[in-house]
Subunit: 181 residues, 4 copies
């Protein structure tokens, strides 16, 4: 049971809670209770709740980007990969715990001073942008196109969360296909 270390258990527990219940709705006490860790032990590994959130976002970033790249890797051309990223969104939406983008969600209602979290969110979005940029790097005016794809991705995520429906993802995919032609 206690195979993994305390720190990992805290991050895992906090990740579940932060994503599914929200950052402000998740208290330190809940995290330590579910992780089975003493409060002071937790604060030995993380200086603050904000720092736990940063660890959560870092891990989520790695997982999410990895899943996305795995998903699109089967496609041959870069254009197909870009389009497939919308299929990835749809498969992600179907997962049991879909609550939209963890990075968008945490930034929306954040105390003013939590800059470390905001930086982490920006870093994630920047990496997504880089990925699309690379896939579309061949032509000259592709940066513009990459930005448009990005907007579609973000819009599809937030709108599918609000609407609790996949039509925004389908619409985004259609639009992407048109723009890429």
């Amino acid at each position: 049971m206690k195979k993994q270390g305390v720190k990992e258990r805290i991050i895992e527990t906090a990740s579940d809670l932060f994503y599914n219940n929200g950052y402000n709705q998740t208290g330190i006490n809940q995290i330590i209770a579910e992780a089975g860790v003493a409060k002071a032990s937790m604060y030995q590994h993380f200086r603050s709740k904000e720092d736990i959130a940063v660890a959560y976002l870092k891990q989520r970033h790695i997982n999410w980007m990895g899943s996305l790249q795995d998903f699109v890797s089967s496609k041959k051309t870069n254009k197909e990969k870009v389009i497939a990223s919308f299929d990835y969104l749809e498969s992600w939406l179907s997962s049991v715990n879909y609550r939209g983008c963890g990075f968008q969600n945490i930034i929306c209602d954040l105390p003013q001073d939590q800059h470390k979290i905001k930086d982490q969110v920006l870093l994630h979005k920047t990496d997504v942008k880089k990925l699309i940029d690379i896939l579309l790097h061949e032509d000259s005016n592709q940066e513009d196109l990459a930005n448009e794809i990005l907007v579609l991705l973000e819009g599809a995520i937030i709108l599918s969360q609000i609407q609790k429906n996949s039509w925004p993802i389908k619409a985004a995919k259609r639009a992407a296909i048109k723009l890429l032609d």
Copy 2:
């Protein structure tokens, strides 16, 4: 002195605080202090904090939709109006207190059970969708197109908030123009 009624003063104060500082970051005490209202008076007008949020969202919906329609009304054709809606986003972004979409923001980190708020957000997004739908109602396959525009609008808002930059709006507008051609 007390030109407007108690209820209006509470809504106005709460609106400022909810939008600019965030829903979870805004306490009841802060609202009544800044509104100059006794606590029990506030609870006479609103059963809970959630109800204040609903009132805030209702008013914000009216204001936002009104501003958007004002902005695009000068354009002649419906197509131009749709494109102008992205210019509206950009002018909105330039306003002093831009913090993204109040509806997106409040829904992102919300206690699980606050359905009234979620309903209000959905209602707002549905009305935006209706507006775009109407502007593009002439042709048969326009509902698809309207949905794509919607995704671009939402993506432009959330991404410009995260990036603290207007490039997502510009990209969304470019994409919209291509899709509308």
Copy 3:
């Protein structure tokens, strides 16, 4: 039982605890438990622990000065009154809960930023100084003399506390008599 209001009960309880057990040793929880008050009720009357300390010191100032003036009032001449103030110290020392000067004590091990408390202590000592000044106001070089008496008073208090003995008070009184001759 509940004749007096909540605020008074908090001050009274906190006064006992702050003086007898020390400011840092006394927790908010202990105060509210012994006062029989809910925590949030306490924070409705006092913004912070520091503010409770200020209220404690203000009341202690009034009581202490009143007792001193009562004690010396029976003496005829001002000189006798000054000397009697040392007798007051000695009678005070004999009281059950003597723990030295509450103002000296609280200032000695205080977080750096608690200026309101420090101000209150200074105010108390300044008022004691004023009292002695007035009693010795007749001659020209009496301010010097008053300051010397003050030093003797303070020294007698702190040293009797450390030594747990009244000899410092007796010594101070002897010295005062010599200086006043």
Copy 4:
């Protein structure tokens, strides 16, 4: 690198912190962090925080008494030495980190049971008393006089700390001169 031993480094660090920031304001973690010592190592040298305080007071006692004796040693007569001890206070007050008497300070807001610390404070004050006693040992009624000088010394220290001014020391010196004549 590690010129001095672990124990010495702990005492030195704790001394700075205890005197300048206060005993209750100084945490174990801060001490070991600034001393660059592991927590368990610290507890190998000291059974408790109280024991560190005792070591701090012991060293402070030696240093303070030494400085005082150095300062007054240049004076010829014993009477001059006693008077010079007030000049010593004034030079001490001018030092950058003057925060009053470390022994007075630590005793003022102390958990009830920390007897070891209280004993150490008493020991220090007793030694100061001895020093003055010896300097004034010639005549018969000098013990009384020595006690009066002591009261002046203590009063000068505590009052100069509260007032953040040297007038109490000057007043004490004036009084001492009169008493010694």
